[in-house]
Every structure is written in C-alpha cells, then in structure tokens.
Symmetry: C2
Subunit: 342 residues, 2 copies
DNA sequence: CTGTTAGCGCATTCAC
DNA sequence: GTGAATGCGCTAACAG
C-alpha cells in the first residue's frame, strides 16, 4: 500500500495539518519540525495522490484558447478539436474557453491576451503571430503566473512555456528530401507556392526546403516563390501562369494553404511531363488530390494532438509538474495515398 | 457547479445508495425508482467524477505486459517503455507487471497467458504470435472478463479488445509508394529482405508492398524475397549474394530486423548504380545509415506511443468506457534524414 | 428493495 | 507553531 499523509504524520510524530504545510511549502512550521517531516517523506517514499488533492481542493483548470477566425480547413479543424476537448472537460477538470480574434491582427491579439489575463485562467494557448507587442503581452501573462503555450505557430524568444506544433524547418527539409528524390537525377526546376513570407511557419518551411535542395540536389533549381496569400483564386492564377512560362517544372512544393487553387491549375494543365507535388495539411481537397495521384505526398500536423498536448502541458505547468517530454513532441505526419488514415 | 450524487438523490427523492446502485447498474432497485433516478440524472446533466470514484474504490489497475525476450533493439526499446510506464504507475493508479517469454514460442506464450489469467489483472497486453492455441488462450482471458490488447503484432479473429500497433499492410504499401517514386520510371528490379514469412507483420508488409508495386509501378520487378530470420550475419550473406547476382537492383525494402547485416553488405559493395533503401524501425544503426545516406527512408512505430496507448485502452476497458479513438490510432512514422527526432 | 454511515487521500478551516 | 475536525464526490458495508 502506498504511504499516505497519515503515515508520514505518524512517522514524524506530527499532525496532518503540519504535514500538509510542509508538503505545500506553506509557512508556520519550525525548521526542525519541517526537517522531521521531510525525512519521513523521504524514507517512506511518499508520493502525493494528485487526484485526491484535486478532489479536496475542488480544483478546476480554467484554460483559454485564443484562435484566429480564419476559415480555412485547417483552422476550422483546430477549432473543432478544441471544442471536442471542451466536451471532455468535466472528466479532465478543465473549463475551456475559446476566444476568437481576427487573423494576423497584432493589435487584436494583444488586447485578447490582455483581456484573457484579467480572467486569471490557469493557462492560455494561442496561435502566435510574430511581433514584439505579442512577446510583451506574453511576458505580462507569464509575469502574472499564467503559463502560455503557443499552438501551431511559435513565438521564439518569448516567455511561452511550451510550443505545441511541428518543427517547420524540419518539415521544409523533409519536403525537399522527398521531392528531390521524386523528381530524379536530371536537371529541372521546382516551383514553390507559399501563403505569405510574413508568417514564420512559411518562412521556416521555405528555409528548410531551400537548404536541402541546395545542398543535396544541386541540379535542381528553385523558381521564385509564389505568394498566394493562402487564397485559392490567387494561388490558381499564380500557378497557372508559372506553369505556362516554365515548361521544365518537375516538382512543386505547396507549403501553405490555398491548395484548392493549386489543384485547379494542375488539373487544367492536363498533359505534359509529370509534376511531382508535395503539399501541407491533409484537408479534404488535398486528400482527394493525393488519392487521384495529382499530389504525391502530404505533410500534416495533427490538430487533435496539438490541442490535447497543449492541455496536458498547461495542466502540468499549473500543477508545477513536468510533462512527459516524448509524448508532447508533435510529429510531422507524412501521408502518401498508401497510408491515408481511415 | 457540477451536479453531484447528492443533487440527484435529492432531486429523485432517494438516498445516495440507490443513486449509486443505478449509476453502477447494480441490482436491487425497482424499475420505477430506477426510472426516477435516470430522469434526474438526465435533467441535471450529471456526469460522474471518475477521480472521486476511483478514490473511493481505492481502485488500482493491475496490468500485465507479456513481452518476448528477444534482444533486438526494437524489443529492448519496447521493454524500456513499459518500465518507464511502470515508473509512472503511482500517478496513474496502475500496477504494471512484466512477464518475459521466449520469442516465437507458442506453448510458452500460452502458458504465460494462462498463468497471468490466474493473477486476475485488470488487463493484459502482449505481443501476439499467430496460432490457434493463442487465440484460445485469449478467449479464456476474455471469458474471465480480462480485456486483452495486442501489442505490435495483432491477432485477428481473436477476442482481443484492441490492437496497439501499426497497420502493416499500409506500411508495406507506403514503402512501395516511396521506393517506386525514388527509383524512377525506368525498368529495374527491387530486392526485399524480410525476417520470416511466418510472422504476420512481415507477411502483411510484403503483401502491401507487392500490391502497390504491381499496380502502380509495373515496370519494376520484385526479386525473390530473402528471409534473414532477423539475423544480421544471415542477412548480410543473403544480401551480398543477391547484389552480386543482380546488378540491375535499383531499390531494396528491408521489412524486418537484421539491418546491421544489410548495412554491412551495402557498405562492402562500394560503387555501382545507387540503390534506394527503405527500412523499418529507427534503431541506432538504422539511424546512422539514414544520416550517412545509405538508407533513404525509414518507417517506424513509436514503441512509447504503443505502450501508453495500450495502458489507456486497458484502463478504459476496465472502466467500461470508450477510449478516444483518434488518439489511439498508432501512426506509421516516416523518417528521412531531414526529420529525425532529436 | 432502500437508507445510513463511514471512509478513500488530501486540503482547509478553526481552535489551542 | 501546531493539531482536531470537517468535507470534496463517490463507494461499500451494514441495517432495516
């Protein structure tokens, strides 16, 4: 049987209350007494029963998720996962609030972060936009003792406690490793379709991609990056134009959203030498393109994992305990048509 | 505030004990009374606090893992993950026992399963070997009300409650999708190194691989499968011989263990046309081969995920609740040198 | 068939 | 500074 507070109280010759004071580092215990209790804890190998402690405290974890009101498939899926988690809240003693902010709007995000801070939640998760004002807002939260987790897009150099998202440089490198092998050993050119070079994920993916192509596939040329603003119509026009002007394109890396437009342009093109395509995020349209053979591979981040991980980490931080590191690393999932999930 | 058993007792005009009987489906309650309680539960939107229930029950989950005493890297890693989980036991109310059995020994596994059944654990996880005797032993466990989870290798057609492992047919298909694209559009031959066609994982991987090569890369020929018995020396000899006799080999799929021998044979070969290699399980040797460029891609199953998933599922089954499906699907991780985990 | 009561392991009043 | 008593939400004897 595991030792309980009663056992250590008896063993140290003190009362439950004193044990509790020592356990929770509260004042009002003489150093000598504290030492006796600590000794008992150590020799008995006591470990506190967190569930019982939470029950006694009636502890809840109010967590706030700040999500952009973007309406692309990925963000909708992310929001759905948060709502799912909210549905499981009772069992996990969490109380999840969702705040919506306009996408890519630094001021709106700053005021959301400040507003949320007033609610004094046990933790905050948000999709970061990179700006000094945001770094400062996160610092204010951390200063108020509220742990912050960045979701999907990180904010390096800030006081965020954790990043629940993929390594985007590795993602770009991986895309290059795949595409470089797919197009073969003959000189050819590669097109890149991004959303915007202003967001960190996209920049990192491009950096990783360019680095590996340059170093390991030097016979391949990367054409000037198309910035489709994650918008389908714009992406379609850009890609159609690019395909018309560069018949030697053997591969294409789509590192942002707006894949509907890309698919349309590729479909319209019809014949010609095959173009190998690697894209991001397994949305329904992308999935269809994979199945039809239009896309060759898709790199995906599992929004459900990211959300559940963010919650686990925030709870752990709120309790002052360490999360299981290996469990919280978000993988880059690679899908071919052959390993699509049911 | 969430409604408690007291609230529904008051609302239904009965005592706590009756509420508890209804909640836990125990006998000794008149249908009419039961209905009143159910109604109260529904209208108040009661959800039971599992933590409190477990505390009251003093419930522990004795779980037994039966692992083969194989000493390849993967199985050692798996065992280490189980031991890690055992270390976290107190916090999760689990009591984890590990039983070792000789690898691939049906009789030993059967008697282990029967022996474990006598201990009446709350659940059993084991690496299946396919045999009717094993199916029968699992049936006996299920008959005794003990949920069984197969780990790494499944036992279809048995009463196992869940399979914590990857879809090996999909893995083989994925390997084919990668290798087929890697070797390019010219006729060539592919070599396959397996452990043994007697184990289900390996058969399934080969089936998936052959299917996709035949259907989508018909210009590629699969050479007769080499069976290295997951043994390095034997694998090395087989591969060296194969390479010497078939200079047209453009790709190799290693679907079992024994990769040390494969690496030795490939290294000894030296020059010649490049051979693209896809292998399984990210062990230290395989990782090094990936980094050096000898291997192109590795399919991996995360043993830590599998163990944690098995535990979650067994606890859920023991409680008679449904696990989060999406969380329990074990993915096929694909690694290139570009996305190796730290 | 139903109700009363005493805990599970811990935190928190309030006295001493 | 320290201790005794009470309750968190639920289960499990034991009475009736």
């Amino acid at each position: 049987m595991r030792p309980t507070v009663h056992d250590i109280a008896a063993s140290a010759g003190v009362s439950l209350a004193t044990v509790d004071r020592v356990l929770n580092g509260r004042p009002g215990v003489r150093a000598a007494t504290r030492a006796r209790v600590d000794a008992a804890i150590a020799t008995l190998g006591y470990v506190r029963d967190v569930a019982a402690a939470n029950l006694a405290k009636g502890r809840l974890y109010p967590l706030t998720f700040i999500l952009p009101d973007n309406d692309n498939s990925f963000m909708r899926g992310l929001a759905a996962e948060v709502e799912d988690a909210a549905r499981r809240s009772p069992a996990e003693r969490t109380v999840i609030r969702i705040e919506r902010v306009p996408a890519f709007d630094v001021q709106a995000l700053v005021s959301a972060l400040d507003r949320v801070r007033e609610q004094k939640p046990a933790g905050v998760a948000f999709v970061a936009v990179e700006a000094p004002e945001i770094v400062a807002a996160v610092r204010r939260l951390a200063g108020a003792g509220i742990p912050v987790v960045t979701l999907v897009s990180d904010l390096p150099g800030s006081d965020r406690a954790h990043y629940a998202g993929v390594d985007n440089i590795a993602a770009g490198r991986t895309a290059a490793g795949l595409l470089g092998r797919f197009v073969g050993p003959a000189p050819a050119s590669l097109a890149v379709l991004a959303g915007s070079m202003l967001v960190r994920d996209h920049r990192e993916r491009l950096d990783g991609f360019s680095g590996v192509i340059g170093a390991e596939f030097p016979w391949l040329t990367i054409l000037p990056v198309m910035e489709g603003q994650d918008n389908s119509a714009r992406s379609e026009a850009l890609v159609a134009d690019m395909l018309a002007r560069h018949p030697g394109i053997a591969g294409l890396y789509s590192l942002g959203a707006g894949n509907r437009g890309l698919i349309a342009a590729l479909t319209a093109r019809g014949g010609g030498a095959p173009i190998r395509v690697v894209a991001h995020e397994l949305t329904p349209h992308v999935r269809a393109a994979l199945v039809s053979g239009l896309f060759d591979a898709v790199l995906n981040q599992d929004a459900g994992h990211e959300v559940r991980s963010a919650i686990r980490v925030l709870k752990a931080k709120a309790d002052g305990v360490a999360p299981i590191e290996a469990q919280e690393r978000i993988r880059i999932d690679i899908f071919l048509k052959d390993n699509l999930p049911a």
